[in-house]
Structure formats: structure tokens, C-alpha cells
């Protein structure tokens, strides 16, 4: 990161502090010194020279962690850079992101990991944790050099964007990763069942005449990977879970004691395949938007903890890649700057999910499952803090994004509740 830990002291006064890791949910002050949390308490005295932030009416949380983003650098800087992507993260209330390996060249060796971390040190606005590839060049045939990558700082391994179809190779990847303590993240999509179909299979695909991929394309792989996690004892993490069947299998596997965790994206919690009826490519992503029943199951899983965290799968693409024929458009949408506002307005405000649970899913849990230092406001922790304003009205204006890309199905939508201030290492990073 470019930001040094803040030397000056900072006092966040009178905010509602929600820190699930410490079991805290009350109005308190947070004192930050030397870039770390010094103390939590009521009526804390500000030492001389301390900057005071009045957080009255605001919510003070441990920094949010987005464990699934595509920063596109190196190779696709026209879509996003580490600089623009981390600015987008800071604007969206995230203090750390984990970036996927499908760059060009692929992050399948230490040199690329080093490059990403070096760029992040120079230009990054929030903490950047690279995720290494499972297989060389994401080809699914030979393991990437995972040990060196783990040593260089990769916090997980994934061929995200592609599914490792070879079960034997995936088994070996899970075994090989065991000593690193890093999860293996599965992009669960059987490529034969999915056939490259651009949307979910069902009534809507039938009416639109678009080829559809069944939820089974995801579920077959979730089932396989749970079985492999049982075989190997590895920590399996299911990326962007999207079907009722997959949620059910993860719930059952957890109950059996399998080391499996899962994430869900805001769009799979808020949209169904009905959104595709306009043939708007901003509704195209992998996995595709599913049915109402799937959305309900994902919400249920998020609430009961079957799904550990929310991750955006922030996938920037140039406008030219997202404005033509639906079937030919690129997969994915940006999410860093819309995720927290959407979750606050659509889930927290109507009471679908309570605030401490949301903070757990956006901060505590992703930090823990990637073994990151964040996710807590305990004394001594890095002062990564996300402050929310639950009364702030917003409208999604893609032209105003910090991200270089504009591909969102939420353009023009509005709501109430948004990030207000983001601190990384005690330094304000909100653009």
C-alpha cells in the first residue's frame, strides 16, 4: 500500500460501534494511534494533536473485505487498474480486496504476484491480497507454482472464471495447498453442462430464445468439490454461490464437518433471470442470474451462516464489451461501489438481515477465512475501519464511479444507506 500507517492520532467519536469479533454493538469512541486501534470506550479523551471525527448517528465497523474482485492488472488496464480498482473499493467502503488470478499474464507464478503487490504498494489505496491460480495459465492441466506464490503473499488459490474440470488435478491442488493454510476457491461451473450458455435455463431462457445453463451445472461441481474436500481435508471455498441446491449442499457439508465456506454476490441476492428480459448485457454474468427460489435460498443461507460472506465478484469491462448482442457480451459486472449501499438499502433497511450479521459477512468472516489480519476493532489491530451512514440517500451513477468501468445493472437505482468514510491503517482513503 502507498499509505503509511497514520502517525497522527484519530478519535472517532460517538458512533455506533459494531464489531462482531469483539461482541460489540454500542455507542462508543474509537481511538486510533500509530495506525492501530488503541482503545474502544465511552468518553475517551483525545490526546493533544488528535483529529476528532464526529461519528454521531453513524455506524463504525471493522473494515469491509471483498474477497473476490478482478483488478485486471496486469494486462487489462483498459478495464481496471490496481489504482482505479482500489479507489473504487475505498469509495465503496472496503479496506481490503482479494484479487483473482485471471490477469494477463495469469497470476500463476511468483513474478506476477510480486508485480501485483509492488503496484499495490505504489498505487493501491486499500490493502490488496492476490489470489494465485490453481493451474498454469488457468488451463486446468498442470498445477501452478503454488508454494512460491503462497510465500510471495497469495492468500488463496483459484482458477476463477474457469472451472477446473479435471477432478484429479483439483484433488492434487487441494492437497498441495494444505501446508499453506490457504483455501482453494472453486468457480463451480461444469463447462459441458453450461455449454457457454449466457443465462440461466428456465422459462425466461425459453421465452427469450437464449440458450440457458441449468443450475445443475453449478451444483454438479459443488457436489464434486465437497467430496474432494472431504477426501483431502482441504479448505474449500465456493465462489459466487447462486443456486438453492448448492446452498443446501454446503449446509449439509458444514453439518458433517467438511471444511467448506461460501460467498454470495449482491446481484445473486437481489436480481433474478427476469432482469435478462431486456437483453441488457449488464445482466450477464457467470454464474447467471437465477430464479426467485434460488435468490430466496441464497438469502436464507446468508442469514443462517451457511454462506459465510458477501463478495462482489467485481468484474470490470469496457463499454464496448457490454453493449452489443447479449450472447456475445463479456461476463460480469462491477460491484465495489454498489455492494454496500445495495445491501444496506435492500436487506438491512427492511430488516431482512441485521447490521451485525451484515458486518460479519462483509468483514469478520472474509478476513478470518482468508487468515487476514483485519475484520476486528480489537486493541492492537490495524486501524482498518468502515464507517456507514444509514441515512445517506444515493443514486447509482456509473459515470461517477472511481472504477474505470461502468458495467452495472443497477444504474439509476436509488436507496438509502451508504459508506461514509473508509480508513486504512488509520488514514482516510475515501476518494
Amino acid at each position: 500500500m502507498s499509505v503509511e500507517h497514520g502517525r497522527a492520532s484519530l478519535l472517532i467519536r460517538n458512533g455506533r460501534v459494531v464489531d462482531p469479533a469483539g461482541g460489540v454493538d454500542q455507542v462508543q469512541d474509537v481511538l486510533i494511534t500509530d495506525g492501530r486501534i488503541a482503545r474502544l470506550g465511552r468518553g475517551l479523551k483525545a490526546p493533544a494533536g488528535t483529529e476528532v471525527i464526529d461519528a454521531t448517528g453513524k455506524v463504525v465497523c471493522p473494515g469491509f473485505v471483498d474477497m473476490h474482485v478482478h483488478l485486471r492488472e496486469p494486462g487489462f488496464e483498459y478495464k481496471e487498474t490496481i489504482a482505479s480498482g482500489t479507489r473504487a473499493a475505498a469509495a465503496g467502503g472496503f479496506t481490503a480486496v482479494a484479487c483473482m488470478a485471471n490477469t494477463f499474464p495469469v497470476n500463476d507464478n511468483r513474478a506476477v504476484t510480486d508485480y501485483i503487490l509492488a503496484r499495490a504498494r505504489v498505487e493501491g489505496v486499500v490493502r490488496v491480497y492476490p489470489i494465485g491460480a490453481v493451474s498454469r495459465n488457468l488451463e486446468g492441466t498442470q498445477l501452478a507454482e503454488m508454494a512460491e506464490q503462497a510465500e510471495a503473499g497469495c492468500v488463496a488459490f483459484s482458477d476463477d472464471g474457469r472451472c477446473v474440470m479435471n477432478a484429479e488435478l483439483y484433488r492434487r491442488a487441494m492437497e498441495y495447498a494444505l501446508p499453506f493454510g490457504t483455501p482453494v476457491i472453486s468457480h463451480a461451473e461444469d463447462c459441458h453442462l453450461a455449454r457457454g450458455a449466457p443465462m440461466n435455463e428456465g422459462l425466461v431462457s425459453t421465452e427469450l430464445g437464449l440458450s440457458g445453463q441449468p443450475g445443475a451445472a453449478e451444483e454438479v461441481m459443488v457436489a464434486r468439490d465437497i467430496i474432494l474436500a472431504e477426501l483431502t481435508g482441504a479448505h474449500l471455498h465456493i465462489a459466487h454461490i447462486s443456486t438453492a441446491g448448492a446452498v443446501r449442499m454446503v449446509r449439509e457439508a458444514k453439518a458433517r464437518g467438511v471444511r467448506v465456506t461460501a460467498e454470495v454476490t449482491p446481484h445473486h441476492l437481489l436480481l433474478t433471470d427476469e432482469a435478462v428480459r431486456t437483453y441488457d448485457p449488464s445482466c450477464k454474468m457467470a454464474p447467471p442470474l437465477r430464479t426467485k427460489r434460488d435468490v430466496e435460498a441464497c438469502l436464507e443461507g446468508l442469514i443462517d451462516g451457511t454462506i459465510d460472506c458477501v463478495a462482489t465478484d467485481h468484474a470490470p469491462h469496457a463499454t464496448s464489451e457490454k453493449e452489443g448482442e447479449f450472447a456475445e457480451a463479456a461476463n460480469g459486472i462491477v460491484g465495489l461501489e454498489t455492494a454496500v449501499p445495495l445491501l444496506l438499502d435492500r436487506l438491512v433497511r427492511p430488516g431482512v438481515i441485521d447490521l451485525p450479521t451484515l458486518v460479519t459477512r462483509c468483514s469478520t468472516a472474509p478476513a478470518r477465512l482468508l487468515n487476514l489480519p483485519g475484520g476486528t476493532l480489537a486493541a492492537g489491530a490495524d486501524a482498518d475501519v468502515t464507517i456507514l451512514d444509514l441515512e445517506r440517500a444515493w443514486t447509482v451513477e456509473p459515470a461517477a464511479f472511481q472504477s474505470r468501468s461502468r458495467n452495472t445493472p443497477f444504474a439509476g437505482q436509488s436507496g438509502v444507506g451508504a459508506p461514509w468514510l473508509t480508513l486504512v491503517g488509520g488514514v482516510k482513503v475515501t476518494p
Binding site: T206, E207, L208, G209, S211, P214, G324, E325, F326
Partner: protein
């Protein structure tokens, strides 16, 4: 009722009254084709662009003749392959054509939704001449016109649509249109070629040809694309033809006044035996004739009825 739409994108969006309006207009257009001089000045000074991204002889020619009989200037713009392969995006092509001020753009594209995309970005009218596996509204309209011409009415008729429904825009447009006109539709084919949740479109689904056609007033056979074997949808053309091909023997149990239809081009000996394709129940060539009339009606309603 008056036609109010800028575009003709699909049967799903049309009301029954609008469908009747197009069919009635097409009947009066058909009279023109019987004249010695097949030309009226209705669309003189109007420009129709045929923008065909997929190979098509029948439909493109039909639109071209329709435009010419109405005295429109018809320009054929053929682009093979996808817009991506061609280097220019579909939207850029559309903007360029827009700059030449056409009155109607007729578009065929392999991508479902491409005409909707064009309609949103063009000021002129857009007619969908077939998009992917989505819709082919003028085909459904000419089918309805042919059925109404032969049967005298549409409501209450039983129709069997047989074959590769999954990949057929003709089937979709006909299902949407026929349901709106009060017809009963049965789709039939091997389960691999019937799209998911098809029943929710308001049709019956059958996996036995004899059952599907037994009480049908109209049998519409769909073209089987040979590449369906590669996709694993059917084991072989031979087996498909044995199980799903319409032969004189199978027609013996049908209604004596049944109509056999096919959107063309026919795979003779695959979905239709030659005896059936050329037989007394076949109205395949009537469909082609009515195609011109329906397309004249569509062009007239989009480009001519307001200024006339």
C-alpha cells in the same frame, strides 16, 4: 384499430387485435399480387434496408419483393458472420445505417435480442426477420394468414408443432401468436429438443408423434438442423427421421382436412417425406405466397400508414 408501434419485434408483444389488423391488411395486399402490373405507389420515396447477418434466401427475397411491389427503394445489406468477427459492432453498423435515413430496417441476426437492441437505438422502424432462437414474427403471421385462409377462422383450432422446438424461432413466434388467437397448441419432439418449462407457455407437450397429430387441424413440421447431432440432441438423422418424420402412413390417422405446413427449407426425407411435402394436405407454397403479402402489410403499417 390503428397500428401504433414503431417496430415489429415479436408476436409475444402483440395483442390479438393487432395480429388481426396485420392479417386483414395482408389480405388486401395479396390482391396486388394477382394484378397484371404488380406495383402500387404506397411506399414511393421510402427506403427499406434489409440487414441480414444470417444467410437467407426466402425471407430476404420475400421482403425485397414486398418492398418493391409497394414502390419502396429496397437495399440489401448482407453481413456474414457475427458483428464481432466483422470488426464493426452491431450498434456501429446500426448508427451508420441510421445516418442514411432509412424508413424501415429489416434485420435478421443469429443473436436473440439483436432486433430489440437495434430498435432501441434507431429512430426508424425495425422489423425482426428472425433473431436466434427467439422470434420470427412475419413467419408466424404468414402461417396464421395461411391457416385462416384455408380454415376460415383461427380460434379453436388444434395445432401440432413438431420437431426441434428448442432451437426454433418459428415455433416460439407461432406459440405466442396462436395462443393469443385462441388456438390449442401441442409441441412434439424428443425431450432433448423441447425447451425447459415449455408447458408454461400454455402449450401441451408430447413425446409421441402419433399422439400429437391425431386430432390436429394443422401440423407444422420444423426443420431439423444437421448440427444437432454434434450437440448431442439426437443420435442420428436416420433415427430422427424414423421416429419423427411425417410420412403418408402416419397421416392415415389424421383428420381428413389436416393442413401440413413447414417454414422451409424442407429437409426432404428427414422431417417430411417427399410424398407429404408435395401431397394434397401440404400448403407449403401457399405459405411462401402469403409471406410476401404479410411483409407488404408489415412494411405498410410501419412505414406507410401514417404519412398516407
Amino acid at each position: 384499430m390503428g397500428w401504433k408501434r414503431k417496430d415489429l419485434l415479436g408476436m409475444q408483444e402483440l395483442e390479438a387485435a393487432e395480429i388481426t389488423d396485420v392479417l386483414d391488411t395482408a389480405v388486401s395486399m395479396k390482391e396486388i399480387s394477382t394484378r397484371e402490373i404488380k406495383k402500387v405507389p404506397t411506399l414511393r420515396g421510402k427506403t427499406v434496408v434489409n440487414l441480414f447477418y444470417e444467410a437467407s434466401t426466402r425471407t430476404r427475397t420475400s421482403f425485397e419483393i414486398a418492398g418493391k411491389w409497394l414502390s419502396a427503394d429496397v437495399i440489401n445489406f448482407s453481413a456474414s458472420g457475427s458483428s464481432a468477427e466483422k470488426g464493426e459492432s452491431l450498434l456501429d453498423t446500426a448508427r451508420n445505417i441510421e445516418a442514411m435515413s432509412p424508413d424501415v430496417v429489416v434485420v435478421r441476426h443469429k443473436a436473440s435480442g439483436a432486433p430489440a437492441l437495434l430498435a432501441r437505438s434507431l429512430r426508424c422502424g425495425v422489423i425482426n426477420a428472425g433473431d436466434g432462437a427467439h422470434e420470427h414474427p412475419t413467419q408466424a403471421l404468414l402461417d396464421l394468414m395461411t391457416i385462416r385462409e384455408k380454415k376460415g377462422h383461427l380460434e379453436g383450432l388444434n395445432v401440432a408443432i413438431v420437431g426441434d422446438v428448442t432451437h426454433s424461432r418459428v415455433a416460439r413466434s407461432n406459440i405466442f401468436g396462436m395462443r393469443k388467437m385462441g388456438m390449442t397448441v401441442t409441441v412434439a419432439g424428443p425431450p432433448t429438443l423441447i425447451p425447459p418449462q415449455c408447458q408454461e407457455l400454455g402449450v401441451k407437450v408430447s413425446h409421441r408423434l402419433e399422439e400429437a397429430i391425431e386430432h390436429a387441424d394443422v401440423i407444422m413440421m420444423l426443420r431439423l438442423q444437421h448440427e444437432r447431432m454434434q450437440g448431442g440432441f439426437i443420435p442420428s438423422i436416420r433415427e430422427y427421421s424414423r421416429v419423427w418424420g411425417l410420412t403418408p402412413a402416419r397421416l392415415q390417422h389424421c383428420r381428413p382436412d389436416v393442413l401440413i405446413m413447414h417454414p422451409g427449407p424442407v429437409n426432404r426425407g428427414v422431417e417430411l417425406s417427399p410424398e407429404v411435402a408435395d401431397g394434397r394436405y401440404s400448403v407449403i407454397l401457399d405459405q411462401v405466397s402469403n409471406g410476401v403479402a404479410v411483409r407488404m402489410a408489415a412494411l405498410y403499417l410501419l412505414a406507410g400508414s401514417k404519412s398516407a
